[in-house]
Structure formats: C-alpha cells, structure tokens
Symmetry: C2
Subunit: 184 residues, 2 copies
C-alpha cells in the first residue's frame, strides 16, 4: 500500500493500514476485498480517520456531508458530527421514501441507480462526498451527478481506501480527493 | 407523538420531531413512513440526538456500539466517535466479506437474515445496539441474538423513533431502551 500526498504530518497510516483486512475471493473468485470493518471496530483507528478528515475539511467550511450507502454512512455521520454539519444520504434505488432525483452508474453487467431526496441540498451549498472505498469510481461519479443536479458546490471527495489500479479517480475530474490509503 | 420517560431535562423533543417527516404510502399503500433523513441533514437536530445518546450511555462505559444496516450506521458512527469506542456493523446477508454468524428474523411474508463478522465482539464486552427506528422489533431481536452469540453484555438499545402501536419493545425483554420519540 502507498500513501496519498498532502496528508497531515500526524497521519498514522500504519495504524489505519493495520485494521484493513484482505478477504480473498469476495464477492467472487479472484477479487481481494478490502474489508474496512476492523477499522470501524477499533476505537483508536476509527477516531484517527475521522479526525484526519475533519482536520482537512474544517478550513473549507462545508455546509453538508454527502454519504454514500451504506459504509459511507459509518464515516459520514461522525465527520458531519465533528464538523457541525448535517449529513445527506445517497441510497440505492427504492430506499428513500420521499421524492428523489436519480443518477445511473455502470456495473460490470448492466447498470444501477443511486438516489438522493429532492431538495436535500440547496443550490450553492458546499458539500463533501464520502464513501469508504474508491474502486472504479462509478458510485462516486453518480453521487457527483446527484450533487450537481441540486446545484451543490462540491469541495471534494473522501475515501478511506483507493484501489489505484482501477483508475477510479479519472472519473472525478478536477475534484480534490482525500484518501489516506492507496492500494497500487 | 409522545415522549419516553427518563430523558434528560435538556432533551428538545420539539426540535427532533420537527425534522421527522411523514411519508404516506411508503413502502406500500396504507403505511405512513417515518422519514428520519431530514433530521440527519439538519446539523443542530443531528447533533442533539447524538449528544442525548452519548450523555445517556457515557456513564455505562460501553466497549462497542453495534449499528444496524443501514440507517443505524449514520447514528452509530457518531455515537461511537463521541464515546471513544469502535462500531460493529450488523448487515443484511451477503454484505460482510469475512466469516460471519447469522440470525434470522420474520418478515410479513417469509424471513430475512442478518449477519455480524465472527469475533467482532469479544465475550464480556459491553455493547449498545443502535438503529433508527423500532417497529415490529424483528431486526433488533436478531441483532440481540447476534450479540449474545458472541457473548456480549448488552447495555441497551437506542432508537430515534419507536412505533409504539407495533409493540416491538416486547421483543427486547428486559433490555433498557433509549428512544426520545414514540409514535403511539
């Protein structure tokens, strides 16, 4: 694993790395899944990741955190709490009860749809998007689309782990990425 | 809506109630869905709910927060962060990558399965279970089952909203419930 530039000096990447578990052959043979649940379960590592993000984004003064279903919720909730903002939920199709806007993204075979409640973001509000993992970038690209449909100003996208070999960051254009751990 | 006893004097139930939205006919005709996403999106109401829970549970010194897929993650993450614990994820079947334990629960037609990673809780660890809503109690009953399979000591269960008319609390036995909003 490699480290992203621009991390603060207090970043303890060994701590974070030590709680990310490789699970071979999930969700199918040949894939090595990066399991972030041990990091969530460790008080020190969990807090460290949230504090790193909060330190990074606090000077940018976001109005809202936009968290992606479902592991993004675990990190987006505390980031919003620490920064004193609310958190908007981006969910898989059919989960949000009120009127929604939609964005599709490509899967290996076919496509899927993400939703956000209509008017969840006011035009001009500054948001940070958060998910646990940047892989092919399909879900974050759809989330960016949803934010822009509502007129949001996207300050950046945060992840715990980036799978660099999948080149997902190419889908983010010029948006800044905060991600302490990159798997090359 | 009614209030649960034993809430601290600083509890502002009007604030919390004002950000819970009734969505008629979701997920199907005749059901009035209690949508908690506006509360998540409001910085003040979101923080207030987390602080109420943290104030309540801090003296009990939980070792871990157990959060239920998926809206439970949004509240479980910040509660764990504020209390200085980790958070264990309970997920729908097939989402957790490593070895799991399972518990079934009844749906209106048929049943569903919740999972927790094997050894996510060590025997004797004190946990608080959190989800957004207590309805029929099926998911929390399964979550209690998962925690007990791992030998956890369950300090209590927290929700934002209880649908009292569904009598879900009968499934919790003697476990203490923390829930600021009850819909009778």
């Amino acid at each position: 694993m490699n480290q992203t530039k621009h991390l603060p000096p207090e970043a303890d990447l060994d701590l974070l790395n030590s709680f990310i578990r490789d699970v071979p052959d999930f969700p199918k043979p040949g894939i090595v899944f990066k399991d972030i649940t041990p990091l969530c379960a460790d008080a020190k590592a969990f807090r460290h990741f949230i504090e790193l993000m909060a330190t990074h984004y606090k000077p940018l003064a976001p109005d809202l955190i936009v968290a992606v279903d479902a592991r993004g919720f675990v990190f987006g909730g505390p980031l919003a709490y620490e920064l004193g903002t609310g958190v908007v939920l981006v969910r898989k199709k059919g989960k949000l009860p009120a009127d929604t806007i939609q964005a599709e993204y490509d899967l290996e075979y076919g496509s899927a749809t993400l939703e956000m409640h209509l008017n969840a973001i006011k035009p001009g509000q500054k948001v940070v998007i958060i998910d646990d993992l940047l892989a092919t970038g399909g879900t974050v690209e759809a989330t960016i689309n949803l934010c822009r449909q509502q007129g949001a100003e996207i300050l950046g996208c945060a992840f715990l782990v980036e799978l660099g070999f999948l080149h997902g960051r190419e889908k983010l254009g010029d948006l800044p990425i905060f991600c302490p751990i990159t798997v090359e």
